[in-house]
Symmetry: C2
Subunit: 330 residues, 2 copies
């Protein structure tokens, strides 16, 4: 019996809960399980025998989880085998996720996280701690949403040297730029329209200034390319000063503009770059697209949904199967 | 000590040998190994203590391997842990690969193959035999060359239901069609030019008639979608009657034409289809591109090199690491 704790119960945490409610499907992969705790910043539901996820989602929809144990109290007082850490990202302090992950690893629980903050701030410390405690720290959901980027680069391309990783890691920027390409409207017009249509969130500064992409790039560089990079190592230029005229000139020559994050031995960089219009990375809409350049397999591109409640939850579930499951290759 | 036998010593077999000669790199992944036999249809080099791959490649370059044990004699008389089966594909009989793989699995050796024939003819039998003998049958190299398609769909997307797989599985067809798109020349002109430039092989009928794509589709359907499909289940239309006029009309509307192989619950089909010019599957040149449609992660596209000596060998090496190695996720 696998005992699961879910910390953070926003879109991603609820997405995980919705998938875990499909008990028959998930038990085919990992065997029997119970969710013994669900907690957010204001409350929690806990039971050693397993809580009702349906109830947790309904309670949350009506307001917030009932007052109860805090995440740290749950970690200290309850038995669970794996924690799903899906609290909000803070890339400066890594908190509260960083303390949660540290405490879980220290007590010998596996951790699966969608939270970029702790990994940007303390990847090396956490990876070494997990190794020392002989548990897994899995974080497929932190980069590229549903795309299995980390598993692909670290495992499926085994035997290869990874030369560089580059691509589009932020769907909001890509939505804005690909609309500018198609409509030749200004950055401001597209952004305002997208906010009105609720395609992008109200506060997009993390996105459009390249900060979100840079955080993901740091995680890829450390996890896949075995670098020891921090956020300050990334040279960052956002998309806020790209004009319709820049697109005009680019497109006359058969090019478009995308915000590209790149990690190579030359360093880490996030910046708007020209791409041939037919280039596999020149995707449209909110898609993410990444090119993994290796010495044997050469170029491998992955394109998919970089965000979304169920899409991100899917990456967390794939990590869960990775830890406990029998995959389809057996 | 892992004892490896290589059967088939054309481009792929030699590519594997070249990578295995980088002993320091590969031992980091799988530990100590020796290649105890290399055989092709006309001869072999064998030694229980390990042969020199450098010598094998040099001998082969000068003509063929020295007369010696046949593949079947090697399987019967020698000890090895894993066979790399890279003999030429025959999708009607599966031979000689089918007999090789059967015999290896039966004696309890793992098999890694780049040979589509045996899997198209007898996937189910071979998969069940491997399971019964508790050994691995790995075949990443049969579909999509260097692209880790099978590992991605079967393992990285664990927890997902795979709804359909569709895409471009033949680089020769894609080269011809994407050149027709760009140059508006006839199929015959592009083909003749490509043969002259040695971009495609002299005999392309397997490619342009859609047979190669169909064979790969059968493997994907059986291995990833758990179907029980055979070659005759595939509805096949090739690319030989596509005219420049067809491209003209498609492109006026913002579309292009590609040879698409698709497996879904509606069946298996290989046929030329319209794609929006900016669609992620509308890649150019000899690239392959595949869309895996799932219920949770939604669309995941993979694009990469579908063929090539080292690229295909890379997939075989990744299978070898999969069987014996410690991947980078630990």
């Amino acid at each position: 019996m696998i005992r699961i704790a879910i910390f953070g119960f926003g879109a991603v945490g609820q997405g995980v809960a919705e998938i875990l409610m499909q008990r028959e499907r998930i038990e085919r992969w990992i065997g029997r399980y119970e969710v013994v705790a669900v907690a957010d910043s204001r409350g929690s539901l806990c039971s050693e025998d397993g809580i009702s996820l349906k109830e947790a989602i309904e309670v949350k929809k009506r307001g917030s989880l009932p007052e109860g144990k805090s995440v740290m109290e749950i970690i200290e007082s309850m038995d669970f085998d794996v924690a799903i850490e899906a609290t909000p990202t803070n890339i400066e302090t890594g908190e509260p996720g960083l303390s949660h992950i540290r405490a879980c690893l220290n007590k010998g629980s596996h951790v699966i996280t969608s939270n970029k903050g702790p990994l940007v701030v303390a990847y090396k410390e956490l990876a070494e701690l997990a190794k020392r405690k002989n548990v897994k720290l899995a974080f497929e959901a932190t980069v590229g949403g549903a795309m299995p980027l980390i598993k692909l680069a670290k495992r499926d391309l085994a035997g290869n040297e990874i030369i560089s990783i580059k691509g589009i890691l932020n769907g909001t920027c890509n939505y804005i730029l690909s609309r500018m390409e198609q409509e030749r409207l200004s950055y401001q017009q597209i952004l305002a329209e997208a906010k009105e249509l609720k395609i992008v969130e109200a506060n997009t500064s993390y996105d459009v200034e390249g900060i979100d992409s840079a955080a993901k790039l740091v995680i890829l560089a450390n996890a896949v390319m075995e670098m020891d990079a921090t956020f300050n190592d990334v040279e960052i230029v956002g998309i806020t000063s790209i004009t319709p005229e820049a697109f005009e000139i680019a497109m006359e020559k058969g090019y478009t503009i995308r915000l590209i994050a790149e990690a190579s031995r030359d360093g880490l960089r996030v910046s708007p770059r020209l791409l041939p219009l037919y280039h596999p990375l020149a995707v449209r809409g909110t898609l993410n697209a990444v090119l993994i350049q290796t010495d044997l397999a050469r170029e491998v591109f992955v394109i998919g949904r970089g965000a979304g409640k169920i899409e991100t939850a899917s990456a967390i579930i794939s990590d869960l199967v990775d830890i406990y499951g029998n995959d389809r290759t057996n």
